[in-house]
C-alpha cells in the first residue's frame, strides 16, 4: 500500500509526519501496513468487524427504538503515542484530578478558593451540579471524583490540551479494553514485535481503588456496580466491568437501606451488606428521598447511608460540580492554588460568556468558534461555528444572550488525525483521546485510553452516538529495542 501520497493538510498526524515519514512510535506499524495491499487491509478490517459481532461488543443509541445494540464501530489503524511523551501527559492528568478533588472537597467544606477570590462563588453555587446535600461531607482521601475520563486533543502543533473533564459517570473504558483484544486478533505480529504498554490491568486497578474506599477496615470489601439497567447506553460497559472485577452488577431494586442506615443487597440467602457502590447512574436518580422523587433507578435512603459514612459511593454524589465547562476554565488556577504547581497539560483557551468582554468576542466571532453548553455531555447541544449555517449562528447568539452563564466558547482546534481505512483509500480522520484516571488511596492513569475518531471526512464530532468510531491506542516504548 502506497502511503507516500498520504497527507493531512494543516493537521498534526499521529502516524505520519509531513512527507510521509513515520513518527517513531508508528514506524513498525507503518511498515506493516505498507507491506499490505489496500485489499488486504480491508480483509483485516473484516476480521475485526467479525470479531466484534461475535463478541457482541455493542453500544446503544437512545434514539434507536427497539434496537438496543449496534455493533461497535472500530478502525484497524491504531493511534500511537510515544511512551516518553505519554509519561508527561500521565503526570499532568494525575495532577489535574488531584486538584479537581481538592476543589470539590473545598467547595463542600471550607470554601477557601472562594475566599481567596480564585473562583467566583456564584458560578459554582449556581451550577445545577452543586448539591447542597453534600455540604460538610468528607469522603476518604478527600477523593470525590474517583474515576475521571478527561478528553484530550492535539492541535496542529502537536501539543496536547485537555478539552474537558468527565467526572460524573464517564464511560468508554470497556471499549478501550475490547479494542485492544480485537487488535490483538487482527495483528498479533505487531504485538509480538513491539513494546506496547498493556491496558488490561484496569479492572484490577479499579477494584483495588474501589476497595480502598470501603468504610469497613476489616475483611474483603463488598463492591457492587450500580446500573440503571439494560436500556442504558452504557449497559454493556457496566456488565463488562462487573464481570472483570468479579463484583455484583446490581440495579436499584436489588438494594435497600435498612434501619441501621447500612446498604444491603437482596441475595438468595437474605440481605447482605454492601460497602462500596460504583454507581453508573446520575446524581438526580440516586435517591428518590433526596433527589428526583420519580426515580425508579435509585435506592431510597442511599444518601442517608452515604452521609453517615456507612457506604462509599464512587464517584461521590455532588462531584459533578467540577464537571462544568465554566468551572473547567478555572482548573489551571486550581492547580496553582491547591498544589502550588504549574499545570502540566494546558486547557484549551476558553471564553466564558458570563464575562462581558468574552461574550462580546464570542458573539462577534461565533463563526470561528465552538460553542458548548456548560452542562451537557455526549456532544449534544453544541455548535461548531465554521461548519454551521448563518441561521444556526443566530440561534446560538440568542441562546447565549438569554443565558450567558450556560455557555462557553473555544477556538476551533484543528484536531490531530490518524490514517483511517475509508471506502477507497487510507485517509486522515480527526481523533480525540479519553484516558481514564483513578484516584482513591492511590492514583492510576491508563496507558493511552480510548481513541475516538470522526469517521466523516473533515468532521470533528467523535461521539459514538453521532457517527464516531474508535481505534486502539498504543503507548509504544521506542527506547526498548525492537525484537525482530
Amino acid at each position: 500500500m502506497e502511503l507516500k501520497t498520504y497527507i493531512s493538510p494543516g493537521c498534526f498526524d499521529e502516524s505520519l509526519a509531513e512527507g510521509g515519514q513515520p513518527r517513531a512510535a508508528s514506524r513498525v506499524l507503518v511498515d506493516f501496513m505498507q507491506q499490505r495491499s489496500f485489499k488486504e487491509a480491508q480483509e483485516l478490517q473484516k476480521l475485526a468487524d467479525a470479531a466484534i459481532a461475535r463478541q457482541g461488543i455493542s453500544f446503544t443509541v437512545y434514539s434507536d427504538q427497539g434496537n438496543i445494540d449496534r455493533a461497535w464501530p472500530f478502525d484497524i489503524w491504531p493511534r500511537t503515542i510515544e511512551a516518553s511523551e505519554w509519561q508527561d501527559v500521565e503526570r499532568g492528568l494525575a495532577q489535574r484530578l488531584k486538584a479537581l478533588n481538592c476543589f470539590i472537597d473545598d467547595v463542600y467544606n471550607d470554601q477557601r478558593i472562594f475566599k481567596a477570590d480564585i473562583v467566583p462563588e456564584d458560578i459554582v453555587l449556581s451550577s445545577k451540579n452543586f448539591r447542597p446535600e453534600c455540604v460538610g461531607i468528607k469522603p476518604r482521601y478527600g477523593a470525590w471524583a474517583n474515576i475521571c475520563g478527561s478528553d484530550l486533543v492535539r492541535d496542529a502543533s502537536g501539543q496536547f490540551f485537555v478539552l474537558e473533564d468527565n467526572l460524573r459517570v464517564p464511560s468508554g473504558v470497556s471499549y478501550m479494553l475490547e479494542n485492544r483484544a480485537v487488535m490483538k486478533q487482527v495483528s498479533p505480529e505487531l504485538f509480538e514485535n513491539l513494546h506496547i504498554q498493556p491496558v488490561g490491568d484496569y479492572p484490577n486497578r479499579l477494584l483495588s481503588m474501589l476497595s480502598s474506599l470501603s468504610p469497613q477496615e476489616q475483611g474483603v470489601a463488598e463492591v457492587v456496580v450500580l446500573t440503571p439497567g439494560i436500556y442504558n447506553s452504557a449497559y454493556y460497559e457496566h456488565s463488562f466491568l462487573a464481570h472483570e472485577m468479579g463484583a455484583e452488577l446490581v440495579e436499584g431494586c436489588d438494594l435497600l437501606v435498612a434501619d441501621d442506615d447500612c446498604v444491603y443487597m437482596r441475595n438468595i440467602e437474605g440481605l447482605k451488606r454492601v460497602d462500596v457502590i460504583y454507581r453508573r447512574i446520575d446524581d438526580e436518580f440516586l435517591d428518590p428521598e433526596v433527589f428526583r422523587e420519580d426515580s425508579a433507578l435509585g435506592v431510597p435512603g442511599l444518601m442517608r447511608a452515604w452521609r453517615k459514612g456507612k457506604v462509599a459511593i464512587a464517584n461521590a454524589p455532588g462531584c459533578g460540580v467540577a464537571d462544568d465547562k465554566v468551572v473547567y476554565a478555572y482548573v489551571p488556577d486550581m492547580i496553582r492554588f491547591y498544589l502550588n504547581e504549574e499545570p502540566l497539560v494546558p486547557n484549551v483557551p476558553t471564553y466564558l460568556c458570563r464575562r462581558d468582554e468574552d461574550r462580546e468576542y464570542v458573539l462577534a466571532n461565533i463563526d470561528q468558534l465552538v460553542v458548548k453548553p456548560a452542562n451537557e455531555s455526549g456532544g449534544y447541544g453544541m455548535l461548531v461555528g465554521p461548519h454551521a449555517s448563518a441561521e444556526e449562528h443566530e440561534t446560538f447568539r440568542q441562546l447565549i444572550i438569554d443565558n450567558p452563564r450556560n455557555y462557553i466558547a473555544q477556538p476551533t482546534l484543528t484536531l490531530s488525525t490518524v490514517p483511517t481505512l475509508c471506502e477507497d483509500a487510507i485517509e486522515p480522520r480527526h481523533v480525540d483521546l479519553r484516558p481514564f484516571i483513578l484516584q482513591g488511596k492511590e492514583t492510576y492513569v491508563t496507558p493511552g485510553g480510548l481513541t475516538r475518531v470522526a469517521m466523516v471526512k473533515g468532521s470533528l464530532v467523535v461521539n459514538s452516538s453521532q457517527g464516531g468510531g474508535s481505534k486502539d491506542t498504543w503507548v509504544v516504548d521506542t527506547e526498548v529495542d525492537y525484537v525482530v
Partner: protein, 314 residues
C-alpha cells in the same frame, strides 16, 4: 448471589435446554415422518400439539403445512415457545447476568443467535433444516459443557443445573404423553402396531435415549419399557427420576432449601409409587398430568425460596 441474578440464571438454563430440546424434537419428528407410511395419520402439525401451541397457531396461520409448522416452531418471534424466541430469551438472560458467567457464555449464545437469525430461510428446506438443527444442538451442548468445565460448583452453577434438569424432566414427560396419546388414538389400526417399535424408538431418540436404553434395558423396545425407562431409570440423565436427583443434589450448595427439598422428595415418592402403565392409556395420561402439576408447584417453591426478595439479614 442476588435473587434477581439467580432467577435469570435459572431461566437461562431452562431456555438453553428448551432450545436444544426443540431442535431435537424437530429432527426426530422429521425422521419419523419419513419412516411411517402415508396411511398413518402423522402430520407436521403434531409438533404444534407437542409444544401446546394449537390455539396460537390457528390465529397466526391458515393451513397446517410443513412450512407453517416449521416457521411457528422454529423462527416465529410471535410464538414465545419457538426456538428463536427461547434463544432470544436465553440471550437476554445472559446479557443481564454477564457478571456472574464466564465470558464465553455470552460469546457463544450470541454466536448461536446470529447463526439462527442469519439462516432463518434454511428452516424451510428440509436438508438444510436438519443441518441447522444439528448445529443448534451441538452449540447448546458445547455451552453446557463449557459451563461445567469452567464454573466453580457454586450457587450460580447450582441454579444452572436446577433449571436445566427441571426443563428436561418437563420435556421428557411431555414427549411421553404425546407419544402415548398418538398411539391411544390410532391403536385400532393394524398398520400402526406394525410400526409401534419405530415410534417408540423415535421417542427414545427425541430425548437421546436410544443407545442407553439399548445398553441398559436390553429388552426389545416397547411402550411399557420406554415409559418406565424415561420416568424411572436411575442412571439415564434425561429420565424424570434422574433429573429430580440432580435437582436434589444442587440443594446442598444453596441456602435455606427446606420447602424445595420437600417438593422434590414428594416428586420422587410419586415416581416410586407408579404402577405399570399401558402406553397410550388414560391412566398414564392422568399420571403425567399430575407430574406436570408437581413441576409447576416445584417451580413455585423455588421462587419462594430464592427469587422473591427477602427482607431479613442473612
Amino acid at each position: 448471589m442476588l435473587s434477581r441474578v439467580a432467577e435469570r440464571v435459572y431461566w437461562l438454563a431452562r431456555y438453553i435446554e428448551r432450545v436444544e430440546n426443540t431442535a431435537r424434537m424437530v429432527l426426530v419428528h422429521s425422521n419419523l415422518m419419513y419412516d411411517l407410511p402415508k396411511k398413518i395419520d402423522m402430520s407436521w402439525y403434531r409438533l404444534i400439539e407437542l409444544i401446546s401451541c394449537e390455539q396460537q397457531f390457528d390465529v397466526l396461520y391458515d393451513a397446517k403445512t410443513e412450512r407453517n409448522v416449521m416457521q411457528m416452531v422454529l423462527t416465529d418471534y410471535r410464538n414465545p415457545a419457538s426456538l428463536v424466541s427461547s434463544l432470544q430469551f436465553a440471550r437476554e438472560n445472559v446479557r443481564t447476568t454477564r457478571d456472574v458467567l464466564p465470558k464465553e457464555t455470552w460469546n457463544r449464545i450470541n454466536r448461536l443467535y446470529l447463526l439462527v437469525k442469519s439462516r432463518e430461510d434454511d428452516v424451510l428446506v428440509r436438508s438444510r433444516r436438519n443441518n441447522l438443527m444439528e448445529e443448534v444442538i451441538e452449540s447448546c451442548q458445547s455451552i453446557v459443557g463449557m459451563l461445567s468445565g469452567t464454573l466453580s460448583q457454586d450457587e450460580t452453577f447450582a441454579f444452572l443445573v436446577m433449571g436445566r434438569n427441571i426443563e428436561r424432566a418437563d420435556m421428557t414427560s411431555r414427549i411421553l404423553d404425546e407419544g402415548g396419546f398418538f398411539l391411544g388414538q390410532q391403536k385400532h389400526l393394524e398398520q400402526v402396531q406394525a410400526y409401534e417399535n419405530v415410534l417408540w424408538a423415535n421417542v427414545l431418540r427425541s430425548v437421546s435415549g436410544y443407545l442407553m436404553y439399548r445398553q441398559h434395558v436390553q429388552t426389545e423396545i416397547d411402550g411399557q419399557g420406554v415409559v418406565m425407562f424415561l420416568l424411572n431409570d436411575i442412571k439415564f440423565p434425561r429420565s424424570v427420576l434422574q433429573c429430580m436427583m440432580m435437582v436434589l443434589k444442587t440443594l446442598d450448595d444453596l441456602p435455606d432449601d427446606s420447602g424445595v427439598r420437600l417438593a422434590v422428595e414428594d416428586l420422587k415418592d410419586f415416581l416410586a409409587c407408579r404402577t405399570v402403565f399401558e402406553a397410550g392409556s388414560k391412566e398414564l395420561h392422568d399420571y403425567l398430568d399430575q407430574l406436570q402439576q408437581k413441576f409447576m408447584y416445584l417451580n413455585d417453591v423455588i421462587y419462594q425460596a430464592w427469587f422473591v426478595p427477602k427482607h431479613v439479614a442473612a
